[in-house]
Symmetry: C2
Subunit: 568 residues, 2 copies
């Protein structure tokens, strides 16, 4: 799920040949893994699962533990149900489909045999059986539909409220092939689903929610730049599934595939005590940050992020390189400068649940999606991860590419992100008093791959003229941090410009653009970088504000002026 070779920090880890390090999910552990913020959770272990092998329980068992493997992609998803008391909230508007007596009767065992496109993909829903083989390729959510193959739809639809719509049921009804046997229907009726999100942590009320279940939210721009280190509570949240409940006592981190080395199984305590604690301040950014600006050009697929799907934190943990060395990784391949962390702390405290408790990967300079949360397993591999999120999502395309023509193989996975900046203050539509005589503009700037932001230009007139902003690389009032070592500028810079209000104008179009030390610059406009997934949205950021004239002056302006008359 994580190709580390492209990451600057891991270039040093990966210096040898073409070995790559993947982070994958262990199977028999009550821990979870996230490819990017795709959360995957294993339910309570029930024994009998072979480590590293995919096994699932069907029928009543899914109440206790249900895990899935995205067929063909290697991405691992799982679903755990810990609470059977409450009703399934997400499907309340879904109506049961009346059984059609003319259709054949199937047992759950017969349904369970149909779990692949080759064998047919069958699912059950409220006592009916559906052959959805033909629908798999049309599923808007992609291969994830195969998670339910051979079993019941209910627990998956509980995860994604998007299914709670009548037209979804209509589509499903087209694929009905039979009824579940009376015995198996009775078994299913005794199973009540629950809200898998009920154990999600409390969140800060300031967050602007893009989706509640799964929880995705960003801080308001105007508070984002108040702190150089973003408080964890308002650090943007990006989840694909419920937040896993991981027991720190039984947590194990698996390390496998080290050539000539050994496999490791580390407890949280061992990770904390057997390896030096290393701290890195690094900015994480979602590939979809600023997607809303692309949506204004033309609808894209994905959460409608504003400009704040980016935050900066101090991460502490074991260095990946130290763990790999302990597993017998060839030492000369591991750079002293490798900053990839197996982090167990964020801003000096235990990782919050939303950010991967107990352990996440922090790959500085690299798109959020590779900073796997709820880390379960690390596999060193010659191959790039075959996961959905590495191969078939998080890639950039031409504005000419649509869903009919897209070929995910034709583009590289997003790893390092391009130069980025945005205005956090003032916000769109704000009013600036003319009497203030000047305006203060604030924002952030960051670039991927450890490239340092070296300049931010700000315009008050839509990009016609520019002024250079002051850069800030520590909390305001503190001693500025020393320049990062070359190629290891992992943290953003905040910036600020106070400039005289231009005379006459009634509106300012404030624009910012940043430059990194490879002198890459942001593109001017959104449309030419538009892409169907709405990722990599890094055009100049524009904010329009109104200049409010003084009341005195306004009065003068609104007083009718009587012109003298003359003969001609």
């Amino acid at each position: 799920m994580l190709l580390l070779r492209h990451c600057r920090g891991l270039t040093r880890v990966g210096l040898l040949k073409t070995q790559r390090v993947q982070l994958l999910q262990g199977a028999a552990l009550p821990v979870a893994v996230c490819a990017g913020s795709l959360c995957a959770r294993w339910g309570s272990s029930h024994g009998g699962h072979k480590s590293g092998q995919y096994q699932r329980s069907h029928g009543p068992n899914w109440r206790h533990a249900l895990a899935g493997l995205l067929a063909g992609t290697g991405a691992v998803l799982a679903y755990g149900l810990h609470h059977s008391q409450t009703e399934q909230a997400a499907t309340t508007i879904v109506q049961p489909i009346a059984p059609a007596s003319s259709l054949p009767i199937y047992t759950q065992d017969e349904v369970t045999k149909h779990r692949s496109v080759e064998e047919g993909v069958w699912v059950t829903y409220k006592g009916s059986v559906y052959d959805i083989t033909e629908f798999v390729s049309m599923h808007p959510g992609g291969d994830k539909i195969l998670l339910a193959a051979g079993g019941a739809l209910e627990p998956f639809w509980a995860l994604y409220a998007v299914h709670s719509q009548d037209h979804v049921l209509e589509i499903l009804s087209e694929y009905k092939v039979g009824e579940l046997s009376a015995e198996d229907r009775l078994m299913q009726q005794s199973v009540k689903s629950t809200d898998p999100y009920s154990t999600d942590p409390e969140r800060h009320p300031a967050l602007r929610i893009n989706s509640l279940k799964p929880f995705n939210a960003e801080p308001p721009p105007e508070i984002l730049s108040d702190n150089y280190i973003t408080p964890s509570a308002i650090f943007f949240k990006r989840n694909h599934l419920p937040v896993p409940q991981v027991d720190p006592k039984s947590y194990r981190l698996q390390v496998e595939g080290v050539p000539g080395g050994v496999s490791l199984s580390l407890s949280l305590e061992e990770l904390k005590t057997h390896f030096p604690k290393h701290t890195v301040t690094a900015t994480l950014q979602c590939a979809g940050n600023r997607r809303s600006e692309m949506n204004k050009v033309k609808q894209v697929k994905g959460l409608n992020w504003g400009i704040a799907a980016i935050s900066n934190a101090t991460w502490s943990g074991a260095r990946l390189k130290d763990v790999l060395l302990a597993a017998g990784y060839r030492s000369e391949a591991v750079s002293e400068e490798g900053d990839v962390l197996l982090a167990y702390q964020m801003n000096g405290e235990d990782l919050p649940a939303d950010h991967g408790y107990p352990v996440r990967v922090v790959v500085p300079g690299t798109v959020g999606a590779r900073n796997v949360k709820w880390l379960g397993k690390i596999i060193v591999s010659e191959e790039e991860s075959s996961s959905h999120w590495q191969q078939n999502d998080y890639k950039g395309f031409s504005p000419a590419t649509d869903w009919d023509t897209v070929d995910f193989k034709s583009a590289p996975a997003i790893q390092e992100l391009p130069i980025q900046s945005a205005i956090t203050q003032p916000v769109e539509g704000a009013v600036v008093e003319r009497s203030a005589e000047e305006v203060t503009v604030k924002g952030y700037a960051w670039s991927g791959g450890g490239r340092e932001v070296v300049r931010v230009d700000v315009s008050l007139d839509g990009g016609r003229t520019w002024q250079v902003a002051q850069l800030q690389s520590s909390e305001k009032g503190q001693v500025p941090a020393p320049s990062p070592p070359p190629g290891r500028a992992w943290a953003w810079k905040l910036w600020e410009l106070t400039a005289p209000l231009p005379p006459v104008v009634q509106e300012l179009e404030i624009v910012c653009k940043a430059v990194d030390n490879s002198y890459n610059m942001q593109p001017d406009s959104v449309a030419p970088i538009w892409n169907l997934r709405g990722v990599l949205s890094n055009a100049w950021h524009r904010v329009k504000v109104t200049v409010k004239e003084d009341e005195e002056k306004q009065k003068l302006l609104s007083t009718p002026v009587v012109f003298g008359t003359c003969d001609k």
Copy 2:
């Protein structure tokens, strides 16, 4: 003169602490060094020069050897006169200034004592003595003026034709302080300067010359993309001075400053036989490529390059890392992937004189200016080079920065270059026949730092709609080269698109923009990235061509159409 820490290939060399490797000029050798394409040449050795220490001869000796050190910058320049037969061509319009008998008489020895701002900066010109101390800071050419301190101006003015103007003499006359003694004037009169460019090599007649002396030229765009590997003869030429004449038999490459190691002095033969020969295909680009587009926005300082100050060649030589290891550099600091070359071959043959014979540095992924030609000395240093070209030129600034406000300390030296692409075919103003029904567009794309070009978008309508071009990473018709290892994409990609001619339109505005694997993209327009030195010009490239209608159709269009009349 070369900061290697920023270079991807040398990140591995420089992994240790903050050690940096500089390339500097040895002193007592008949070899030369170039910071970028600033050529520096030592004349024939006259003995008595301490290695690594600056010493110059004055008075009549400059006829034989004259070397200079840019005071305060560490950049080394030298000037050798090998030909005393021909007259100095570049100063023919300069008129001698009549001696003023009221002024004091000075000997050459007295003049020679004034070689610094502290002691006063004196020069002689045609028998008169000038105290130009106050003028040093106003010299348009910067500190280079100090090269002549304590000596005669003639040999320097012979290098830079810009001095052959009456107003330069008028400025000089303001600083006159005396006359040179009769004896020393006689000595000087016996010295005839010569054209230092007379030994420059023959050049290909296809080259478009931007400046003849020193020679700077680029190939026409339409032939640039004919070959994936640019033939050496049309590879762009960038010189600051005459091309040095280096005797391969007496050539020595000095390596110094290796911590805990030894200094080396290598003959050309030793460099070729003691180290494995390594070959890298790498694109070099001048920081000023496409400067002419910035000049159209507002005048900038520098040669008016078109789009072809970029070329791609195969370079062979010893790896810098191997030479440093031989000098005792700590082995674990040197990556197996270090691709920085001490190159003695270009496209399979000895380096041409214009490209640094006998040895140049090739730092793949890094601006041309760091690919030092006529290499003399390598110094490993903790500090970034203090040379003019590292500190006070080859940096990028905001469009708001002008020569009154520029602070060169505020910007990093250009090392890795940003994503770049341009259209080589058709050229501006070309005519496309409507009957052809389609148009073929060709060009190049490249990014610095080993970032691979992953896509080129082409528009025929000024950027409103786009099509994806085919990329080419080998000679046409040959088997495509395998993908370069991550972070080591040193060579450009050529690209091509054949698209139907849009109907109706009489003009096409063809635009291209490229994307690298960090998904950095080119800015849309030139004005917002304009900078006073006209470097880093990488906005979308635009070419307008005319669509010529078929004669038949034209005839139809020009035939008057008689409309029927009606009552209303």
